[in-house]
Amino acid sequence: MFLLIVLLGLILAVILFGVIIYNNFIRSRETVRNAWSQIDVQLKRRHDLIPNLVEIAKKYMEHERETLESVIKARQQAVDAGNVKDKQAAENFLTSTLRSLFAVVENYPNLKADKQMSQLHEELTSTENRIAFARQFYNDEVNRYNIAIATVPNNIIAQMFHFDKFDFFEIENIVERQAPKVEF
């Protein structure tokens, strides 16, 4: 009888323990998902700003059609991108085209002095920072979650209820990651 009670107690304790861990996983997972949606919000903000930017830049830089068109194309790709991998690639490409656009803007003092342009520049800088911060928060949360589901004894529960690892949202450009080519 005594043994039975102890056994029952043990089983109950294990179940309770499991429930707590499970709930923690759920909480963590929802935080990660929320963090991901925050990145989406900020990316959308960037996509909305770009047409205005191009519109203003068009007035001043007639000889830079190509740069502007590449920005528009990159934006469209980013908007259309579906899964995480595509999105990353498209967003990184968009970042690099924007960078080249702002490098060109340096040659147009009138454009730089334009009030709307400087406002937009500030908004874009802010948006870039927000994206970076949202990504940072997402990656931190993913890291916490991934560690939580992989450590013993949590991994047993994680495997039982199919808690899968999340991917990081990575910053590096595919081009940047390659080893530098040396040319003679």
């Binding site: 935080t31 963090a35 925050q38 900020q42 400087s118 406002q119 500030e122 908004e123 800088t125 802010s126 920072n129 927000r130 911060f133 949202a134 940072q136 928060f137 949360e141």
Partner: protein, 571 residues
Amino acid sequence: MPYSFTEIEQRKSYVIQAVFFAMFGLYFLFGIILFVGWRLIWYGLRAITLERILIPFEIGLILPGWRELLAIAGVAFMVSAAHWYYVSQNLLTRIIGALRAEVLRPSDTYHRTFQNIIDELSVATGGKTFAPLIIPSMALNACAASDFEGRSIICVTEGLLAKLNRAQIEAVVAHEAAHVLMGDALETTLTVSLFNLMGEFLKNFPKRFFRVSFYSIRAGFASFYVMIVSAFIYFLLSLTHLASLVLNMFMSRQREFRADAVAVRLNRNPLALAEALYIISNNWRGAGLPGDRLGALFIVNHRYTPLDEADAMISDLFSTHPPVNQRLGILLDMAHSDPAVLESALKKCAHKPRQIIKEFNLSEEKKWLFHREGKWVGPFGVAELSGIDWVVPDMLVKKMGGKEVMQALDDRDLLEALQSVKQSEAIKNADFHCPRCHVPLLAREYESTVVYHCPKCQGYLVEEQDIKRIIVREEVGFSPELIQRAHKMQETNKKIDHVMDGGLEGHLYTADGLTCPRCQHKKARMFRRFYNTMYHVVIDKCVFCGLIWFDKDELDILQFLIEEGRESYRP
């Protein structure tokens, strides 16, 4: 970093209880001192006979017994509970009032950047919200405060926004956000509100009372009572100072280190925070300003004190901020840099490029004829354009005196004039008229704030509180002629001031006092005076609303003189 809210809540309640008991202890001690004092006076007065005074008092007569002690404890508990309750209501409102903090202006570029930075850090903290506020001062400092409902504010000074670059401001705001995130902003806010806030309110009284007592001695009445009241207020002031020193023991100096570390975690830029700390600590941090007794809330203490900069037991107990050099050292270690590199990098950092503002020199001659509904109408100048809404860019126009007919958008001068008119329409309450020429003033951006400009006489109308903003932001450049004129003006006006010897409290009496464009009342004369006893630029200031009128070039001259004085401008 304690991320989970339960952890933060637990810590919060523990420290806050300790603060409450410390306050209770203070009141208890104060009660005992009062009791003993009262007994001394009571028995002392009764015992004014020679032999009684010579005989030492029986200690038992003076010290309270256990029943009295209990009564004192009860009263002290009630008083501290009432004090606690009073302080915890409207915690933030009181702090904001003491700091004279203002809400942001959406039309101001600097404020917009600050709002953006706040929003960015809100993203970085995973959605915590902060209310941004501005302290309109030229000092460099920043602070954070929270209340029991979980609301929090982050204040920065105008000087900070003007002097630091974007990354540095972001680092400072991240530091303040870290205080809120770690939960110690609430502890600090509460501790500071208990006694420092009282001191903050009281500190203005003695000066006023002494001035009043000075005059009343002259007049020969009431001076004795005024003196007694000011002495009493001084006594209260020193009491609040003592009490706040005791409560400072509950604020760990370590929280600044932790906040620095969490800030770096948030924005991953230790170098920017180190630079910001270096610049803030080597500039005026706001000693003497409203709010300088609330130093514990700020990133760096207002005053330079040896207590803060020492690394000893006493400092650990009573100081609220760790030595700046230690903080810099840790941050620079994180950034793999060292103080010498930082110093030389900041010294090398060039001043922002200046831009000499071109005036709309659209005097009487520059007027246009407009082709409207088959007829030429006009001529209209800038002053009239502000009342006209039918001018469109592809309209045919003719310059007065010229033969050439062109489209409105091809005439650069007209375009500029229209833009300035449009700008003034976008901003409300721009319906001021020039106090000299009575033409409508045009609102225009000047050093990222709004001033009202007369297109005819080139004068400027500026709100009183915007003067500080204009002076601290160093965007406008100065031409050599202006510099020459500034020096000349300073020299001649100094002589006038010397003759007056400050006798009229700086007022220059004139026959043609201007009427204030806002108050527009006959009595609302603007007083002509020098800006202050240092910078002898003549201004006209409304007695009621504080609007200030600058004649042509005077605003630039004032700016130049002040910037030359603080050696931030080198031609």
